[in-house]
Amino acid sequence: MPTAERSSLDDVHRALGAKMVPFGGWEMPLSYESGTVDEHLACRRDAVVFDVSHLGTVRIEGDNSFELLQQTLTNDLDKVGPGRAQYTHLLDADDGSVLDDIIVWWHPHTGGDDDVFDVMPNASNTDRVRQAIGGVETTHMRAVLAVQGPRAIARLSAIFPQASDVKRFRVVEATWHGVGCTVAGTGYTGEPGVEIAVPADAAAALWEAITSCGIKPAGLGARDTLRLEAALPLYGNELGPGITPLQAGLEWVVGWDKGAFRGRKALERERDVGVSRHLVGISTEGRRPPRSGSEVVVDGQLVGVVTSGNYSPVLEHGIALALVKPEVGMNTVVDVDVRGVTLSGRIVETPFV
């Protein structure tokens, strides 16, 4: 095993008593002393900050960068423009499986019209994405802080007003005490907020400033329960080998109106014949969490499998995302088999909260 990568905020997390866990080749905070449920509720009710430096950043710039991304990734950059962020997928060329889900930050044009893209894959997929699109990995030059929650923007305005002005899915170059940062109106919690890429040597000072204005640190445990309540897919669970964007209910990520892109032919075939399964939300009774791998049963027949499940701190019962047969529709009553225990559930609208 190679040594785990560490965030430039590693010392800060340890000093706060964070529980550190391996994640995608990195060692990152799972939770701080108050625990995952408390951090989760703080994000839904107020504001939290996550260190998400483990996300990869691959910088692509120059003359052909726009065309390269258009031909490689699924979403259509013509729907946005410089100064915008876009969620997109990298597909397997043969079967249309999702090889990674990615946020692209298209930097604003400043002074000229040179395109600069920061392509942000999941930590463990950074090499795979670099093989597909090239570019220069800049992951270790910066930290990324995600400030999220209904009061995130208001609280952040006290110490970094420029960042707090960044609207949803905008990308802005901002300066904090002389330090150049890139700020995007993105996140992974279902709450308003921003993600700030800050040079690694200034990350601890920015973290300190953010947490000093009442924004609580939160770990990957809360990030996972938050994204599940928001029904946002996680690579390795809802996306991955054998799972296409169409099955995951993410056809809006597919730029059908643009030209060729990797995996397009496979997706067109699937679109024509219809998907063999689709992603749904399941609400279960009681506190026991459904789990990834739990079987979903309707009238005694196996119809699918849970891809992610947990206890919802807001709803105070179990919730799950599951890939099920296409005929299993909204409001269907289901049984979820959790290691031999049957939970009663129902297919519900997502997001769950």
Binding site: K19, G35, T36, V37, T225, R287, P289, N310, Y311
Partner: protein
């Protein structure tokens, strides 16, 4: 890590409180165990009357991270359970040696308790 002096401990991170002159013992999980579990969101309250063998699963608890088994520290019969855990599983985190107790076992062989560790020995295993 809090390791009360008056309790006995298993290598599976359960604690045992003896009642003076009785074969009944109270059982729970240690501070170390609750911390390792993370936030507990569900406890399957064990069933009164069940006979459990030492090292066998008494019940399972679910945290936001994963599911974990709780093992019997000694062989005995479950004679009382902490019903409060079904509504308030977080008691395992908040008060593992008090309101977060799991069950009372009527021990088969009181001599079995000799196999458990004293506080100092248990502390040494978790600080290793």
């Amino acid at each position: 890590m809090n390791v009360p002096e008056q309790l006995l401990y298993s290598s599976d991170h359960e604690w045992v409180l003896r009642e003076e002159g009785s074969s009944r013992v109270k059982v729970g999980i240690t501070d170390y165990a609750q911390d390792a579990l993370g936030d507990v969101v569900f406890v399957q309250v064990p069933t009164t009357g069940n006979i459990v063998l030492r090292g066998e699963t008494i019940t399972e608890v679910e945290s936001t991270k994963s599911v974990s088994d709780i093992y019997a520290p000694v062989t005995g019969t479950i004679v009382e359970v902490n019903d409060a855990l079904s509504e308030s599983p977080q008691l395992l985190n908040e008060d593992p040696y008090g309101d977060g107790w799991i069950c009372i076992l009527d021990v088969n062989e009181v001599a079995d308790l000799d196999s458990l560790m004293a506080a100092a020995d248990y502390s040494a295993t978790v600080e290793g």
